[in-house]
Symmetry: C2
Subunit: 158 residues, 2 copies
Amino acid sequence: MTSTSTTTGTIIDADAAAAVRALLDAQVAAHASRDAAGILAPFARGAARYDLAPPLQQGPGTLVGDLQGVTAWLATFDGPVLLEHRDLVVDAGGDLAFAHALTRMTATPAGAPNSFSFWFRSTWGLRQIDGTWRIVHEHQSTPFHMDGSFRAATDLEP
Amino acid sequence: MTSTSTTTGTIIDADAAAAVRALLDAQVAAHASRDAAGILAPFARGAARYDLAPPLQQGPGTLVGDLQGVTAWLATFDGPVLLEHRDLVVDAGGDLAFAHALTRMTATPAGAPNSFSFWFRSTWGLRQIDGTWRIVHEHQSTPFHMDGSFRAATDLEP
């Protein structure tokens, strides 16, 4: 285990943080190659997922709560689903880690002539289970405008 | 330190988890008593906050990014701001913890005759810094409807 002191005086487990970053990189690659099983692979069984779309929590039978859901979600796009995590921060120590980033998604709706891009916020909670890092909690969202419109703020940039 | 094996075989630090729950309880109480300083007290300096309202990340000068912002936010309500965290799960070990819950907020807009309630998702990342647990990351959101309306889904229930 390699430990590094940060400017705030807390200790980061650099090896664990690198493993978490590799896991997230693999999930980005799975989106780009439209690999539904690869998108779900990093999640622990029963992970609590708060996704961009309703319901409040994703589980089996929801939009992206299982393989069938993710497959159906991928079918709403033509070509790769590109994700970019900006300003990724990973806190890791022992068998526990959490991470957050601002994420840009770029994709082309099925049958549409052009791609769209938008930014959202991503947070992950992870545990090392039987020697393998797994996402036990994921939270992805946009804020919403509090001007009475209740519109999701999908037009924000970091 | 008291450790307990969960059904998934991972280890939970029960004392740390209790400290995190106490911190969140204190922040709920600070909302109920409209105590802006108490609402901000649990946050580490420079915490990365992804809030319900824009921008993508709250910092000084934003809606709830500093004492002035939280004070202004509280002024938009008459009386207590009531929060309830349901199904709170805390993962804690060593100096690191993360937690998530479905949160119901109930409040009365300034000058309005009636209160409103809505549910959102809450996630926290925490570190023990100089012996005190602090929130270093917070993420609160509603999902949004993907029916083309881009409306925030403020009408969902757990």
